[in-house]
Symmetry: none
Subunit: 138 residues, 4 copies
């Protein structure tokens, strides 16, 4: 399966956390999944709370599940709350309707996803994007 | 229990996807269930996201569960959100309150259901109806 | 993600069921998953019982989860029953320790999996293999 | 609660995987948990199958849950299979009765756990131990 490699996933996680330190954000957790939604790499900073791994994975998994960023899922949840709530019963992982989960594409193909949590959703997403940008994918 | 056959289910799925291509919709997934809510046939187009099979099955299953189309369940959810939300705890599959899931009848008898997802709910339903119309049931 | 396409998945399912008819087997159900374990196509023959879709998906998903055929998982279950039983609590889909679930590779890369159920495990596997052989993958 | 830091967890994971490469083992997955059983770091090598993250986490979590290595849990499962099986209903994560999950102590205090999976249980444990040894804990 064409997918992010472990080396790429580690680089994404490291870069996402570096962005968080650069911006003096709260302790973060970053999860990197393959295109099928399975974990490749995860890092949780000291002080990030217990549920952060599941939230980070959930943001990334939600993005893969619906084919849009978790920011867009958050917008869908505001417009159609019962529809998004109903998906909780369908998905193996939770649907997390908040920014910070983004799909990683290479040449238009899904190759994985990144989820970040710990600070505001907007800041989480900034770090996720910084992580992916280190790969310089086309 | 009178039910759609596999041959009929495959024809429904093929016709529903053909309608989606005719309308240039996003990649779709279509599920065809028997009257008991069990899967007969499913097809997911290339590029449709990971959770689409569950959503397609959920729309069809919800329709069978409540005896109305998933469009009507969406209307019920707008009027009585806590009632529809409460059903999530009852149903094996989730209740999906959005158009695209329809019951298939023959001579007034339920013989199965179809669920389509991937584009807007209205477009999904158009494809589900196109699928069923190929059968020319009385 | 490099994966089986819907066209390939439909061809696998059709060929697997044709093999079952050729051998006069009981009614079968065949599921074709992508490398991430998500359903691409499923067909259940008339008369195959209600739980067959989940068993077919479970065989294929188990193979992907552990990286071996479900026949090998059956052998592992005979040697280490509590270990395999313990995985039921880990996997989103069930672990099905019986032949009939095989991984599909292309050039050494996992691109999906097939699960067949309905007759004996050996016959199920024969049909799964017949399905994959139609693709003439290298 | 005294706990492994992210820096320590990353070092453990990197060293465990390096040991696997040194021994030419199959692709591995390593999970490092804090004393509360929550994930700090995870790495899954390219080619390790889909369920490996859950198995790695399950081995480490089982060790923390019962206060012994997952090797000992495997021995308990051989002697008292129904007792170990009953724990599946109690634990959030599964109980995985196979070597490869070890508790990390510092000055007699539990500070986390490591789980490795992908090769034989014995080899998995060798890598988990190699990971912890890099920390030179007293």
């Amino acid at each position: 399966m064409a997918s992010l490699t472990l080396d790429q996933a580690n680089r994404i996680a490291t870069a996402a956390l570096a962005k968080g330190r650069e911006l003096s954000l709260k302790p973060l957790c970053v999860a990197v999944l393959d295109a099928g939604g399975h974990l490749i790499a995860l890092q949780r900073e000291d002080g990030a709370s217990n549920l952060r791994p599941q939230i980070a994975m959930g943001k990334a998994s939600s993005a893969l599940g619906l084919g849009v960023s978790s920011r867009v899922i958050g917008e869908m949840a505001a417009e159609r709350p019962t529809f998004i709530a109903s998906l909780a019963g369908l998905a193996d992982a939770a649907i997390v309707p908040a920014a910070g989960g983004i799909i990683v594409y290479k040449a238009g193909e899904v190759i994985g996803a990144v989820g970040v949590t710990g600070d505001t959703s907007d800041n989480d997403e900034t770090c996720a994007l910084a992580g992916v940008e280190t790969l310089e994918l086309d």
